[in-house]
Each structure stands twice: as structure tokens, then as C-alpha cells.
Symmetry: D2
Subunit: 338 residues, 4 copies
């Protein structure tokens, strides 16, 4: 393998551009050798060129066929993820894939089988694991100083609802938004989720009902290790991106607050004002995006385990499907049912 | 009625002594004219005398028969509450009763009927409504500035588990501990709970299993106004009494943190240390105990509505019974079932 | 001596009423047997009676002559403090005196000599020493865990400027307001102040200039133990009473923030708002007023050292005079000059 | 001028490497065309090459003579700054110079004259102006919403004392460390300092005395606009880099706390622990270093005013000299004396 990991990027929409920029500027051991996107246009080609990437294609197969590509970043639309994983695996490329791999459990399992067969590495883009705050919660719990975890809590609220065009195809709040939190509770607790119970409501926009979706949801969880947990999601938090986690253990509790734009406190006769949380995931998890990329590059170059595996890609999808079924059938649902 | 409200206190255990002390020292419009307790001894008589209360009896009927008593404080054991309410009502005394009135819905309803018939006032001791923090959450939500409530969250953890002798007779975590939180979510949301779903576990002490109880529980709730909510309880939080509430609304979120012993921040090479939350309810809700008493005295003397009614005493018991049934039967339970 | 300390109170203005109320309601070992005030009127007599105090006089000498009075609380205007101390001492009464004893060093020294000669106890009302926050700073420093103190900082700002009628006679910002902070730095550092340097300005109200006063001031200090410190004062902080202290030591730093009305955080699109500091000293130091009184009563009844001595009453006056001289002469001034 | 600003860097020690890395990775409009350092070795050449910089010289004159260099970054030792500024100006290069320009007022004035004569741009590296926290304080004050500034406060403490080899040549605490704070108070207040008064002490290491230096200092300041201020410095804060600022104005107060490594709060029976401040300036001001560089590049490419001028480089040196004189002569010193 080359001294630098040579990467081909599939999809240069918002998240693809983010990864490319990070790889170019902040990951010295990586080199982006080409990008492919069926919607490539003059603007995106100019953007790629400005970063020193001259090999741009509209055909994703050009990436898989390129012998100079050691690894691919799959940043295309969700419906292409599994197919690209299989193609990359068959071409012997290591794979970084944005979440979710698919919204269909069988499709994910087939993709993971192809990865296993090819013996390549696969990392799934659950970026929040690399956030300084959530990582501190996880590390504190994992250190054992607080004893056995009892209650795992995640609050996750987006600043504003996505457009209905997206809601229509997103798979719903559980597969599109809360899936990050399903990964997070597995990460924080160090244990598998065994059962969920869901309450949901529509408080943000009545249009969500059209797509058999809710915009506000709470999911309770049971874990293999006996802990219980809860996640609350809202599609809209006008004060900004609300991302808090907490684990209550036998000997104590660890919790993290939001990152704020600054630490200013302004006191006047009208009150005391602090700065709002960072606006959305691009600001909040910027350093985490870089960290997950570095870890992937390091895992491939130095043959280490990737920090987020294919199973980590599969389980949150199962939990999300169970959560939706719990909402639909108004009963607790075991993950083993899925 | 006398210019001062003349009060007879039934039960001078921990909570009875607390109310007597507050009435004597901090409620100028009240006068404690007698106390009654079947376990009255030299110590408690001396204590009463030191506060200027010379009429002490072992017979609760002496209180109901005393024409100088305008109102009673029922601070005796839970199993006597409903009976004492009925007796007081029949004697034409106004009533302040510690929570819960009973753990049996029918018994409560009968007691409330007796109160209604007698036309006396009844206030139930859900003291947390009078806490500066929770009241600020409620007032902010009720003001409407944040818009429609969507998610109601309560964290409530005791510093240490009660003795098993108490667990045996307490009615379990839902009727004994989380009942305060069931009142709190009604108070914060301004809406009735319609359905609950419960997950519970044992993480503090295996002995809880002997009494068909759990020591760690999460309950999800649906409200009439379409909001959803969640309460988490633990019998043990070694860092102190953990009492936090939060309401996420359409236009914003209001949340309160714990009261701390002081605002000190000590920074050394080993880390930054802050002071722990106040240890337990006597410290945390001390001012609230005084405030609820003042409000009761004011309501009686000036013929105002009491701030916590008989219905407020009934509903949390129904929710608690539903929560336990949800745990036992592993399904969501509607309050209308109870 | 009687089992309860029998107290006569001189002066029942704002601060006198506060002490009487605290003594009656919150200090079980004390009994207020009489009050005296030349401005006694029907209202203040009715107020005293409502607290069970029937002996009310317009003549302060009635207090000194009363054999049932064990101790006096001097809450009258500053110009009477020293005289009343001498009279009380000569009558063999123990003395609690509001600050400052006098604005004249010689007068204070004479009063302290009378106290010494009579062998009675004298406590001066530097109430902030009894505040939970500042006490935590002091106790942390005194414990030695942070090592040798290096920098002592006090921020002290009133919510609004006093009326000019008061400014005219108050003795100025250093003797009337910052005197509390001069006591505080001695308390926090555990060391005597040896030298000060002052910068002052007028930012709140130009009228302060008429009385040779400033409304905003910073004083640097040197301590016997080699530490240095700084106090900043403003006559006006529209957000409330700003009372923060900090000590930076060799091994770490301890600091306290303001007490807030509640812990609420309200987040909306407009920002994140917290609750303002408690408004003024009656709210902020309410518990401290009770604590200092209890300590005095305990010191007298059980023959212990008082927690704030006559020397503690003298030194801040010397520092205040030095601070004013530093401002006037624009040079550092040694306390030994005073 | 080229579309990208072509930069030559003088000095690739710690701060030089930092700027080069930032320019290469985070400033798209800049290109580092060469570096020069008399101590250049194989390691630093390899490092430069890894960033795509192949032109490396031991002779600084190669930079001034290079027609492909539009601007220089002066990151060499302080004693070379002024000379390099003059040479760069004479060569028509724009200049970014690390602080301080010199510790000699006359030398600075001569360098600024050379810059003026050449008509090139000069920006001085007072990086803290670009920090999100301090900038928020400044912007809030400058907006006028808080009214007229009255008290300006800066706390600035390094995590650990520098080696004595550095102390020997640094110019002392005022010229080496507090100079940043002298810039900060000018920035925050929007006004010039007119007079200072200094108290200093040795609490960290007795060796500072050998170099006629102190390790702990407080400086009071007067401003042209009538405000007063105070800075406190310590060479050692074992809990990390302590960087807080505050401005109290007529209508309110704005203050910023330290940036922490994360927002975790860990609560156990032993206490509540938060994360320490970021360790030192490389972490704390990392984004600010990038921001100041971007602003410089933008100012040159688009002919805008630089955000930190030559005068901004001169004034803090004058204040530092006055502060040291105040310490030595134990009297307030006017800046006009310097």
C-alpha cells in the first residue's frame, strides 16, 4: 500500500464536500485521487480542482476500476450505499460509508457479507462517537469509575425541520434522525439494545402526518446489561442544535451540555443572556468529522480495527425499525423481532 | 373564623415536626394550638412545649373534637390519611394532607366526596410545586412565550435508597417516589396524563426484587394536549438529590438544574470541582414547605382556592398504578383503565 | 446568665428590624426583651408587639439600665455606635454592633478600650463572612489544599446608587460600601493589608463629585503574607447585586459566582436566558444575617470567641481611610500611615 | 498582485511552524512560497517539504530579495523583529509581525516610520483579538447596548512558568506576558490607557527575583474615556490557561469564562467535577491564529485596513514600560511619561 491512503470519493454533495475538504486540509496521511458524482457540474469540478483534485468523473464505476484508489468514501444518496459497498468490496477497496448503509436489514446483511468475503475494512459514519463531549461520557462510563450503568439518556433536537421533499424519502424520524442516537446509546452504554417502546407526536408541522411520520418522539430502551434508557427527539429547536447525553451509574452520573458559540454572559436589567448552542451538525461536529476520517485512514494504513464497524451500521437500523413498529402498534418491541 | 388560623397537627414524625416548626416560625397568620400522635413521648412533648404548644395528645380524636381547631395538618402514616380526612371533614375542619391520600383510588374518591359534602378546603402536600426552580419552569410554560409544550422531562433521583422496612410498605417506587413526578408533569404541562409506558430495572439493591419493586425506572407519558413526556427515577444518586425538570416547546425550551450548596469552583491540576447538589428534600425544598403552608393558610383565611386540590391528590395515584401495571404487563397502559 | 440570651435592641430601622425578626424566628437561644429607638412610633410599636416584644422605649438608656438585658444589638445610626458601645460596656452588656463602629480611628480605639476594660464580648456585623459562598472560599484557602495565596479578588457592585441624602453623610464609597470588601479580603487571605493604591471614576451620577466621592473604584492591596489583591466597586449594576470573590493560590484557584434567583435556562431563537442575581443584600445575605446572630448568641452563652472581633471592626476603617487618601493624593498609601 | 498572496516566512520555531501550517491548510488565498531560518536543519526542511514548501533558506535576506514574495511573516526572535520590518518595508513587502515589535519605544517608532514611508501594510500578532470570547466582549461593548464602559477587567494566567533561560531575556512579565493584556484592555474598552499603577509579588519561583522580575502582578489602569481597569497575571495556574475578560458598563456587564476541553460534569459522592480549561495558547487560540492570518491576507489582497496596526504594536509596549516603572518606583505612572 502507498504511504498515503489514496481515496476516491463517491458523491460530492454537502457531506461529500465536507469529507473531501477535511481529507485534503486536515488528514496528512490521505490523498484524494478522484471524485465521482452523476450530478457533477462545472462548479463542483472547479471546487475539486481548487483542492488539487483533477480526476473528476460522472461515473462511479471509474472509482472502483481505478487501481490508484485504495479506499472509497461513499457519500452518495442512501439508496446507493449498499450497492457501492458491494462493488467496492469486490474491487478490493476499503470503505468508509455514510450512515445508514440501508434502511433494509437484509440489504445491509448482504453488503456486510460482501465486505467480509473481500476482507476489506468498512467504517460507518456515525460521527458523533468522535465528538469530544459524547466521547468523554463514553470514556468515563467505560473506565468503570462510576460503576454499572443504570440509566442512559440522549437528547437530540435539530434546529429546524428538513424540507418535506426530504421527509418523503428519508425513511422517517427513526431511520433518518434518531438513528444517530440509537448508535449513541450503544456507544455510551457499551451494551446492545434489546427492546424499545415509543411514544410520538406531531408538534412541529402537521405535514409530517402525510408521510406516516412524527416530528417529536421519545423512545425508551432496555439493554442487555440491565440498564434502561431514553432518547427524545424533536425536529425543531429554534435555539439551535440540542445534543446532550447522560449516563447515570451506580456510583455517579456523567452528563454533557451543549457546545456554545462562546462563553459570554451578558447581564443587564432585562436579564442574563448566554450564547446559543452551535447552530447545526456542520459546526457542532466539525472536529468529529475530521477525527473519524483520521481514524479510518489510520485503521487502513496500519491495519487496525476500525472504530465503527459494519455491525455498528446494522444494529441502529434494527432499533429504528423496532421503534417505528412500537409507535405503529403501541407496544414494546423486542429487537429480536426485527 | 379567628384572625389567625388555628391548627391541629396529626402526627409529629419527621414531616409533622417540619410543618409545625415552619408554622410556628415562618407563618405569622397561623397558630398551632395542638398536636396529636399515638407515639407521643417525653421528647416530642418537650419539643412541642419549646415551641409554645402545650396541648399534646395521644388521641387524634381530640383534634377533631377541639372547637379551637380551624384546620388540621395530616402528617401521620399514609394508611391513616383518608380516614383522618373524612373525620376532619365531618368535624368541619379544613385539611392539609400529606401525599399520597391513599394508594387506593376508591378510598381517595370517598375521602374527596366527604370533603366536598362538608364544604371544607383540602390541600395535598405536593411541595415541589412551590419550589423556585420548578415553579419557574411551569410559569414560563404557562405564560405561553414558548408556545405549545411538546416534550416534558423530569429527572428525580434520591441520594440513597430507603431502608427495606420502608420499601416493604411504601407501595413501591411509583406510589412512593415517582408520585411526586407524576404531579410535577401535570403541573408543568398544564395537561392531564392519558397513557404511560414503563421500563424498570434493579441496579441499586437486589432486595427490591423481594418486594416486587424496582429501584430504577423510566416512564413515558402521553398528555391530553398532545405533548409527550418522560420521567426517570433512581433510588440512589450518591452525589445528592437530583431534581431537574425541562419542557421543550414549539418556540423554545426551559430547563432547571439542581440547587447547589454554594457556587464555588475550585480549579487545581487535578481538575475543576464544583459543589454537590443539596443533599435531600429537607434542604432542597425547605422554602417550598414554608410556601405551601403559607398558601394553605391564606386560602383558608381569605377563602381562596387551594393551590393543590383533591383531584391533584387523586390523579398521580392513578398514574402511579398505571405505571406499575405497564411495568408488570410490559405494555402501554391508559389512565382510563384505572 | 439566663439559659436564653436576653437581648435589647438599639435602633429598629431596616437593619434593626431585620435582626429582631431573625432573633425571634430563627435563634431559639435568644430572647428580645426590649427595643429602643428615638424615632419609635405606633407602627414600630405594633410591629414589636406582633413579635411578642412589649417593652419599647424611645430612650436608649433604658436598655443599658435594664438588668434583664444580657446583650445589646446596636443597629442605630453610625454616629451613635461608639457611644453606645462604651455605654453598653460600662453597663456590663455584651455587644453586637453594626458596621462601621465609627469612621474615626481614634473613636474606635477608645470604644475598643472600653470593651476590653469591661471584659464584655463585642462582635461587629461584617455579615458577608457568614455567606455560604465567601465562607467556602475562605475555608478552602484556610484548609491549605491550594497552597499559599497569591491573588485575592473581590467584585462588589450594588444594584443601584443610594440617594444623595445618604451619600452626603455616608463617609464615601470606601467607608460606606467598600468597607465590607476590606473586611472580606482580610477574611479570605487570612492576612493583614499593608498598603493600597486606588483609582476611581464617576460613571453613574455626576452628583457624586459634589460630595468629593466617586461611584466606581478599584483598589489594589498588598498583604503581610506577600499576596496582592484587588477590589472593584460600582454603585450601580442594573442586573442586581454582584458579589463575587476569588483567591488564586500556588496550587489552584477558588472562585464563587453570584447566587441566582433560580437555575432556569430559557432557550429560544432570541438567545439563552438565565435568571439574574438576587437583587440586594437582604435577599443575598439573609441566611448570613441569621448565622452571624446565632454565632454571637452562642459565643456569649458558651463563652466562646466571637467570630468578628473589635480589631476586625477597626482594620477595614483604616484601610478605607488609606484608600481614600490614595485616591486623593494619587499614590500608594501604607496602612501604617493611618 | 497574484491572485493568491505569496508569503515568505521568517523563523520556523514554534510560532512560525504554527503560522505556516495554518496558512497551508486553512487559508486558501495564501501560498507559502519560502521559509528562512538561520537554524534550519534537516528536520525543519523535511517538515517544510511535507507541506509542499521546497524553497528553504538559512538566510533571511533571501526572503526580502525574492520577487515572488508579496508578504512576510516575521516569526523570528524578538530582537530581529524591528530590523526585519525595516528590511521588508524597504523591499516593498507587506508585513505580519509577531508581538512585540521591540521592547524599545524608539526602535518601534523607527520601524513604523519605515513602514509608513514604504506604504506597505503591517499587522501585529495580537492574536487574542480574534478569539471568539474576547471578540464577543469587545463587540458587545462596541455595540453600545451596555452604555459607557466603567470597569475593564482581564485575568490572564499561564499554566506554568517559562524556563529561567527565557525569563532572562524576555523583558519581564510586563513586556513578555502582560503585553497581550495591555492590548486586550485597549481593544475591549475602545480607549487609550493614560496611567497605570502596579503591585507585584513573587509567589511561583524565587528565581524571578534574580532577573528583577515578579511572577504575580496586578496593574490598575485609567483610560481616556474615564473608565478604569485592572489586569491580574500569574506565571502559574496549575489548572490550565486562565483567560477571562469582563467589562462593566453603565447598563450592564459582559464577561467571558474559559474555554473548557469539554462540557462534561461528573457527579459522584466525592463531588462534582468539570473539565479543566484548555491547556495553553496553542489550544486556546488555535482558531484565533487562523482568523488573524485570514484577515491579514484579506487586508493585503483586497487593500483593506489591517485589524491590528503598528500603533497597536507600539502602545502596549509603552504601557508595559510604564507598568514596570510603577512597580519599581511604587507610584502611578502616566503613559505620557514614556
Amino acid at each position: 500500500m502507498a504511504k498515503k491512503l489514496r481515496i476516491g470519493v463517491l458523491g460530492v454533495g454537502r457531506i461529500g464536500k465536507l469529507h473531501v475538504t477535511n481529507l485534503v486540509n486536515s488528514v496528512p496521511d490521505a490523498e484524494v485521487v478522484m471524485v465521482a458524482d452523476p450530478f457533477l457540474n462545472d462548479d463542483s469540478i472547479a471546487w475539486a480542482n481548487s483542492l488539487g483534485i483533477t480526476n473528476c468523473s460522472k461515473n462511479s464505476d471509474d472509482v472502483f476500476a481505478n487501481p490508484d484508489v485504495d479506499a472509497v468514501f461513499i457519500c452518495s444518496s442512501t439508496d446507493t450505499h449498499a450497492e457501492f459497498i458491494v462493488k467496492a468490496a469486490e474491487a478490493g477497496k476499503h470503505i468508509f460509508c455514510e450512515k445508514p448503509i440501508s434502511t433494509d436489514v437484509k440489504v445491509i446483511e448482504d453488503a456486510l457479507a460482501a465486505v467480509d468475503k473481500a476482507g476489506v475494512k468498512l467504517q460507518v459514519g456515525f460521527v458523533r462517537r468522535f465528538d469530544h463531549n459524547h466521547k468523554k461520557v463514553r470514556d468515563t462510563v467505560a473506565s468503570g469509575i462510576l460503576g454499572d450503568p443504570a440509566i442512559v439518556k440522549v437528547t437530540s433536537r435539530d434546529p429546524e425541520a428538513p424540507p418535506m421533499s426530504y421527509v418523503k424519502v428519508s425513511g422517517g424520524i427513526f431511520l433518518d434522525m434518531m438513528i444517530h442516537d440509537f448508535d449513541m446509546v450503544r456507544y455510551l452504554s457499551g451494551s446492545e439494545v434489546t427492546e424499545v417502546s415509543t411514544f410520538g407526536t406531531i408538534k412541529v408541522d402537521e405535514e409530517f402526518a402525510k408521510y406516516d411520520d412524527v416530528d417529536t418522539a421519545i423512545v425508551m430502551l432496555k439493554f442487555e446489561n440491565g440498564a434502561i434508557g431514553v432518547i427524545d427527539n424533536s425536529r425543531e429547536a429554534p435555539y439551535g442544535y440540542d445534543q446532550r447525553t447522560e449516563v447515570h451509574c451506580r456510583k455517579g452520573c456523567v452528563q454533557v451540555a451543549n457546545d456554545l458559540g462562546d462563553t459570554a454572559m451578558i447581564s443587564t436589567a432585562d436579564g442574563v443572556t448566554c450564547t446559543k448552542p452551535t447552530w447545526f451538525f456542520l459546526e457542532r461536529y466539525n472536529d468529529a468529522f475530521i477525527a473519524e476520517t483520521k481514524d479510518f485512514v489510520d485503521a487502513v494504513l496500519n491495519d487496525k480495527d476500525v472504530p465503527v464497524t459494519g455491525i455498528d451500521g446494522l444494529m441502529p437500523v434494527k432499533i429504528a425499525i423496532a421503534a417505528k413498529r412500537s409507535l405503529d402498534e403501541n407496544r414494546p418491541v423486542k429487537i429480536s423481532e426485527i
